[in-house]
């Protein structure tokens, strides 16, 4: 700790603080323009200059200068104010000052500072900027005539996102921010630069002329897409979400967002949202009253009783899931599940068997401080982009070594320090086994209180790096290096994502990963962690609340099987669209056709088209309640808008259903949360009202394993096929909801089949050509996308798009043999 004086006030602060941070902590205001909490010190704008008695003769930038013992700081004086004002006058000489039509007007740092320093006239004169604006891309509008060159966009894109779209070009007064070759922006469109720009130089195009900032009501809630659980700030006006902004000060994940969180909101305002219940009459879905719909459903459910199948999505709140569970017990059914293919089994079966827990052991902020990180599958960045940014931060701030076990390259493999351990598709387990083998063979394992070491050692005899490398086409040396790093690092993380397109070997991959986590001591060690991250916003909540088959229950896939065979008369789908997203579309359709189907959703989805009753539900922006993210962080959602028409939140629907089943239900999410803390291990003691902006991490920052059992798992033989299809997630999308959102759709509008350059040449295919994939007699067709991240023979297709019908050939395999041909 360091003692210093600021404006006469005695202050004690951490020795890593800057003067600005020390002042801020103590409520002393210093104006800033180029400073950003989450970026490295920069010191360009000179607005934050202060006087330091020990550094007389010049003014000192408070945002970059570290505190030192005994420092005496003055934050305002006539001289300081004059210099700040001069700097503002300089800025305003060439700035266009078109505030009346600038979307930033009202929340612009330059406006605010100009006002604060009363820059009424300008002693200096010069020409106004007249640079072209970037109008090409659909999401981010760049108007460099308003740029103050604070460098935040350049810095955030490099330091946080790790993409590096922007750079400074030219010198002196001609300095400006440019994109590659000064062409239009073409990037991840995460909008981080939009969030960081202090002026109206980078703006969200979809928000243009939608509202003046002061007309917006800010509502902090949790992003409804993936398991990162980023804080989003809804900008609400006229009962519509006009834009999504970020909360850098108190938000989870530092206010960082990806394209989905930042720009993927338009679906909530969409005119095609369901607004009334529908009941199938005379073969057609017709509008009906809520009462009629609920009565019909209640009767059907009661009649089905223990033969009712319930499949829920993982974007319902914890409170809603609690009520759903109550419904299943009221009816006596054990057929309850929440995700196709039971992709969550890595947690519920895998980690449970090895460590007795079913959640990630650490938290994201700990990952930022890691020295070594292993990502299993390069798609991790695609499914969890903001966690990807956390990894990037660990690399930038902490020089962490990242290794990626990958069947294709991706964003992670491009980060600095990244080592990509390429292997043939479907052979992740072989690779993880090889890492474990090295650690044991080289005596690097932390074997205290581990069970099953002897068996594992024996079973791993076939997994020397050399054997595995030969079998799966990997690099043995790279495997060894990674193993040694993971074993030797003070803090290390192992990360793997699961989700609908990653159902194969869920449990086995998790067991292999936990073997590694146990051998390296990563699991349960403070600062380190094993992360199994669910695809959806409340995937972890669904596990915590056990939205999984009961003792005599069927899982989602089995329910569909059973229904298809006519053995499950009634199916209740809540917030899932299995026709599009579940493996084996043929089976799904048959099941939905055969059963009496109730669908509760925002849209008339492909699955809802088979329904007998459709209930209009509410989006995350219309709800109160909690989500639990992939690091076990329980966070509060806050409704920003009212649902359209008669649509109701799942909570309200479940309440009514319980009532119809003559059961009581908690009156509101707060009460429901109170009840669930009594039922869910780990949630005990958490008080809804006290959950702050950073949420509450159940089980603490580091979740200790309850046991430490090593379990051998066998790897897989590489598939022998000339062309092999991988199914997965695309960065711009999450599930199928994002395909109803203008933002993501404007940059990734349609399905595609991705080929590597070599294969494209062999097949004579260019980007944009139509190609066809044939597997087990079924064909799918799409436009081709050619790039250089796929090894020869490997083909990739994202699963989000209904149009592709990918699940006509994807039935849950880890990799599919296909025959591609140009159309």
């Amino acid at each position: 700790m360091v003692n210093l004086t600021i404006d006469g006030k005695q202050i004690t602060t951490a020795k890593t603080s800057t003067i600005y941070e020390a002042a801020k902590e103590n409520g002393i205001y210093i104006p800033v323009l180029c400073y950003a909490k989450k970026l490295l010190p920069y010191g360009a704008c000179r607005i934050c200059l202060v006087e330091v008695e020990q550094m007389k003769g010049r003014l000192i930038p408070s945002c970059t200068t570290p505190v030192t013992e005994g420092m005496v700081v003055t934050t305002t004086s006539d001289e300081i104010n004059k210099v700040r004002k001069t700097v503002l006058e300089f800025l305003l000489v060439n700035h266009v000052v078109d505030c009346p039509v600038c979307d930033k007007g009202g929340e612009c740092d330059l406006q605010d500072l100009t006002y604060e320093y009363e820059v009424v006239t300008n002693r200096f004169q010069g020409e106004k900027f007249d640079l072209p604006t970037d109008e090409v891309n659909p999401l981010i509008e760049r108007n460099m005539n308003r740029c103050v060159l604070c460098g935040k966009c350049v810095r955030v894109c490099d330091e946080v996102v790790g993409y590096g779209s922007y750079s400074f070009i030219n010198r002196g007064f001609e300095t400006k921010i440019a994109t590659a070759f000064d062409r239009g922006l073409n990037c991840e469109f995460c909008g981080q630069c939009v969030s960081m720009c202090p002026v109206g130089a980078i703006l969200p195009r979809p928000f243009k002329f939608k509202a003046r900032p002061w007309q917006l009501k800010d509502v902090d809630t949790v992003c409804g897409y993936c398991g990162n659980g980023c804080t989003v700030t809804l900008g609400v006006k006229d009962n519509q979400v006009q834009t999504i902004r970020f909360n850098e000060d108190t938000g989870v994940n530092h206010g960082n967002l990806c394209v989905r969180g930042r720009f993927g909101y338009s679906y909530v305002n969409d005119a095609t949202r369901l607004t009334k219940p529908l009941i199938r009459k005379g073969g057609e879905l017709r509008e009906a009253s809520w009462d009629e719909a609920l009565v019909t459903i209640a009767e059907k459910f009661k009649a089905a009783g223990k033969d009712l199948g319930i499949i829920s999505g993982a974007r319902l709140t914890n409170e809603e899931l609690l009520l759903l569970k109550r419904i299943s017990s009221a009816l006596g059914t054990h057929h309850l599940d929440h995700s196709g293919g039971e992709c969550y089994q890595g947690l519920t079966a895998g980690l449970n068997e090895t460590m007795g827990i079913s959640a990630s052991t650490g938290t994201f902020p700990q990952v930022e401080k890691c020295n070594a990180i292993l990502a299993i599958r390069s798609d991790f960045y695609e499914t969890h982009p903001v966690f990807g940014m956390v990894i990037n931060q660990a690399i930038r701030l902490n020089d962490a070594q990242l290794s990626v076990i990958a069947d294709k390259r991706g964003k992670l493999s491009k980060l600095p320090n990244a080592r990509t351990l390429m292997h043939k598709p479907g052979c992740e387990i072989n690779m993880i086994n090889a890492l474990c083998q090295v650690i044991i063979a080289e005596g690097l394992a932390k074997t205290d209180d581990l069970q099953g070491l002897a068996e594992l050692t024996k079973a791993l005899a076939d997994y020397t790096p050399e054997t595995v490398a030969k079998m799966v086409g990997a690099d043995a040396e790279a495997i060894k290096k990674t193993a040694r790093e993971l074993a030797g690092a003070k803090n290390a993380a192992i990360v793997v994502a699961y989700g609908l397109p990653y159902t194969a070997h869920s449990k086995e991959i998790a067991i292999a990963a936990s073997n590694l986590a146990l051998l390296t001591g990563i699991a349960g060690r403070e600062g380190s962690g094993l992360y199994l991250c669910g695809e959806k916003a409340n995937s972890q909540g669904a596990i915590d609340l056990q939205i999984t088959p009961g003792p005599a229950g069927l899982g989602a896939q089995q329910m569909l099987n059973s229904a298809a065979e006519g053995r499950l008369p009634v199916l209740y789908l809540v917030g899932e669209d299995p026709v599009v997203t579940y493996p084996d579309q043929g089976l799904v359709k048959k099941a939905l056709e055969k059963s009496f189907l109730v669908v509760q959703d925002l849209f008339l989805t492909d699955s809802a088209k088979y329904a007998d009753v459709v209930l209009p539900a509410a989006s995350f922006t219309e709800k109160d309640g909690t989500f639990t993210n992939a690091e076990r962080r329980i966070q509060r959602l806050r409704a920003g808008i009212k649902s359209p028409g008669e649509a109701k939140s799942d909570f309200v629907v479940f309440q009514s259903l319980l009532n119809k089943l003559q059961k009581t239900a908690p009156a509101a999410p707060a009460a429901a949360f109170g009840e669930l803390t009594g039922e869910v291990a780990g949630y005990a003691g958490i008080v809804y009202e006290q959950i702050g902006p950073q949420g509450e991490v159940w089980g603490g920052e580091t979740l200790a394993p309850l046991k430490k059992v090593l379990i051998p798992v066998a790897g897989n033989e590489p598939l022998q096929a000339e062309y092999q299809l991988l199914v997965g997630s695309a960065l711009y999308h999450s599930g199928s909801v994002s395909t109803r959102s203008k933002g993501p759709m404007s940059v990734c509008p349609e399905p595609y089949i991705e080929l590597g350059r070599d294969d494209a040449v062999t097949l004579n295919v260019k980007t944009g050509d139509m190609i066809q994939l044939k597997a087990a007699g079924v064909t799918i067709q799409s436009k081709a996308k050619v790039d250089n991240r796929l090894p020869k023979g490997v083909i990739f297709a994202p699963y989000h798009f209904a149009g592709l019908g990918l699940n006509r050939i994807y039935t849950g395999q880890s990799v599919i043999a296909v025959e591609p041909s140009k159309l």
Binding site: G43, G126, R171, F173
Partner: protein, 593 residues
């Protein structure tokens, strides 16, 4: 040295200046001539033709010394290949120097008040020869240093009083102690050879003339600080310097003087050249490090200082070329010897690059304490064409000008700052009565404004606005209050800029206002340029009593606007004149205003 002492030696200046004047062909001519005439056999001793570094008087290149055993060397200037046979016949073989071609007395005067320590090997030894270097005390400094502890080495440098020659004048020993004191095993040493000041080429001449000496200085620094990797950041515009230094580094590696266990002295040092990015700001230490890291040359805030967080985040020590060159000599001769030279606050010598309206432009090395007057008049022969001295700009674009009344200022960090200029890296631009001081301020500001890295607002925008005001003034569009506005802005920019570039860029404006305020006022109030140098303010009149009736102006006028007859004062017909300034430029008597 003993075996070569008997030989006849021809020393030929092959610095960039020498080469530009044809030194390479002079070298070839001597070699051919010796061969052809069998000179070695005739005089009974071997003949060495040595390519040396620069000896300072670049305006008179190619300089050649003929050193006959047992005789005082004789220096020729302006030597061309045609002259070589004559020199060989008459002087080398005949024993009579070619008097007409021998450098005049000014050459000795030029050397007299200098004290050439850093330059003692430049111009006397073969710059590319390790043997020559070793024969001239080469690497004895580092051999001495390794017998001392790291702290003792640092203390020796502290005791010598050496201050950084890169401009700031920071005590070198103290700087080293910071870098040594920073925790960690990985540390970097950087030699700043970016030399971006217009007109300065001191560092280039050391690199070209004594590259091994620089390497030795770096070795001592690396040993003292405890670092194993040194970069020399040389501006890419110095191909010869890069070539010679690279050759020297390669040779050192070959001979085991660099790399693992240097010279068997028990420490490791790797050395690499990084060619600069061609921007003035890259000489600023934080921008320089960014540039080595492969990023845009943009300054970074200090603190943290490089000694704490430098290159790639590791403790780093940066010094200038001349600073390192001094270090070697401190270890040859001892700190006491070094500190006996110079003034209280400035020890040793300083090299200056003189340009502008001075008789002998070039490089001079003088002991601290020499006055500016001595440098300009005694060493460099005074003002060209016997015009009146007006001012000297010291310290390049970051420095300031000194008028005649301030010429007693000594070569000393503090004395120059007091006088309103600064030592800077050692550029001196001499100006005579024909130079307009507003225009000079404009010239330097135009340089800095273009070279600003663009990061911080005061420098990026402020300098441009100052420049626009200066331009206005030189165009006769100055306004009441402009001078005060310039002073006020200059003050704010100096106080608020991020790095040394912005913090010093307004200096030329402030110092010209301080000493030549009347010139500013005349421009603004009377719309006149007292030096008749601002073209927009010229009247295109012939001043009768200045006109020498030489008749050159009518010949250069492209539109025949000048009437002149032999023996008559010229007359410019303003109706025809297009104000192209050809006549003004051509008139040698400043008779057109």
């Amino acid at each position: 040295m003993s075996e070569t002492a008997e030989n006849l030696k021809v020393l030929i200046c092959t610095g960039t200046g020498g080469l530009a004047s044809g030194a390479a062909s002079v070298v070839a001519a001597f070699e051919a001539e010796f061969e052809k005439k069998g000179v070695a056999a005739k005089i009974g001793s071997a003949c060495d033709v040595n390519s040396t570094g620069c000896r300072g008087l670049c305006a008179n290149d190619v300089l050649v010394d003929i050193c006959k055993p047992g005789e005082e060397p004789v220096t020729y200037d302006f030597v061309t290949p045609d002259l070589v046979p004559q020199i060989v016949d008459e002087h080398v073989l005949g024993g009579n120097p070619v008097e007409k071609k021998v450098a005049g007395p000014y050459y000795h005067q030029f050397l007299e008040k200098q004290q050439r320590i850093i330059f003692s090997r430049c111009g006397t030894i073969d710059a590319e020869s390790l043997d020559d270097f070793l024969a001239h005390r080469g690497f004895t400094g580092i051999q001495k240093a390794v017998t001392m502890s790291q702290d003792e080495v640092i203390n020796e440098v502290k005791k010598s009083g050496l201050r950084g020659r890169g401009g700031g004048g920071f005590p070198t020993g103290l700087k080293w102690s910071f870098a040594k004191g920073s925790p960690g095993d990985t540390k970097y040493l950087i030699c700043n050879a970016d030399e971006g000041d217009p007109g300065a080429f001191m560092d280039r001449s050391v690199l070209e003339g004594d590259p091994y000496g620089l390497i030795e200085g770096l070795m001592i620094g690396a040993y003292a600080i405890g670092c194993k990797f040194a970069y020399v950041y040389v501006r890419a515009e110095y191909p010869l310097a890069i070539k010679r230094l690279q050759l020297a580094i390669d040779t050192c590696y070959e001979k085991g003087f660099l790399g693992k266990n240097c010279m068997g002295l028990g420490f490791d040092l790797d050395m690499r050249i990084k060619a600069g990015a061609g921007a003035f700001v890259c000489g600023e230490e934080t921008a320089l490090m960014a540039s080595i890291e492969g990023q845009r040359g943009m300054s970074r805030p200090r603190p943290p200082f490089p000694a704490v967080r430098g290159l790639w985040g590791y403790p780093t020590n940066i010094n200038n070329v001349e600073t390192f060159a001094n270090v070697a000599y401190i270890f040859y001769n001892g700190a006491d010897w070094f500190s006996s030279i110079g003034t209280e606050g400035t020890k040793g010598t300083k090299i200056f690059a003189l340009t502008g309206k001075v008789k002998h432009t070039g490089l001079v090395e003088v002991p601290a304490g020499t006055t500016m007057k001595e440098v300009i008049y005694d060493v460099c022969g005074g003002i060209l064409n016997n015009r009146k001295f007006k001012a000297v700009q010291a310290g390049g674009p970051s420095g300031g000008c000194l008028p005649a009344e301030a010429l007693d200022a000594e070569v000393d960090y503090d004395s120059l700052i007091k006088a309103g200029a600064m030592m800077g890296s050692g550029g001196l631009v001499v100006m005579d009565e024909t130079t307009c001081m507003v225009d000079i301020a404009r010239f330097f500001l135009n340089f800095t404004r273009v070279e600003s890295c663009g990061k911080c607002i005061p420098c990026r925008i402020g300098l441009k606005i100052m420049l626009e005001i200066l331009e206005r003034i030189t165009q006769g569009k100055g306004q009441e209050g402009d001078i005060e506005m310039l002073e006020d802005m200059a003050y704010d920019i100096k106080k608020s800029s991020l790095c040394g570039l912005g913090q010093t860029a307004p200096n030329p404006v402030l110092s010209t206002i301080r000493y030549f305020r009347n010139e500013y006022e005349t421009h603004i109030k009377d719309k006149e340029c007292p030096s008749h140098s601002c073209k927009e303010l010229l009247h295109f009149r012939v001043i009768e009593d200045k006109c020498k009736k030489c008749g050159i102006c009518p010949r250069v006028c492209p539109v025949d606007a000048i009437e002149w007859e032999k023996g008559k004062v010229a007359y410019i017909n303003l109706d025809k004149c297009t104000r192209c300034t050809s006549c003004y430029d051509a008139c040698r008597f400043m008779a057109i205003d």
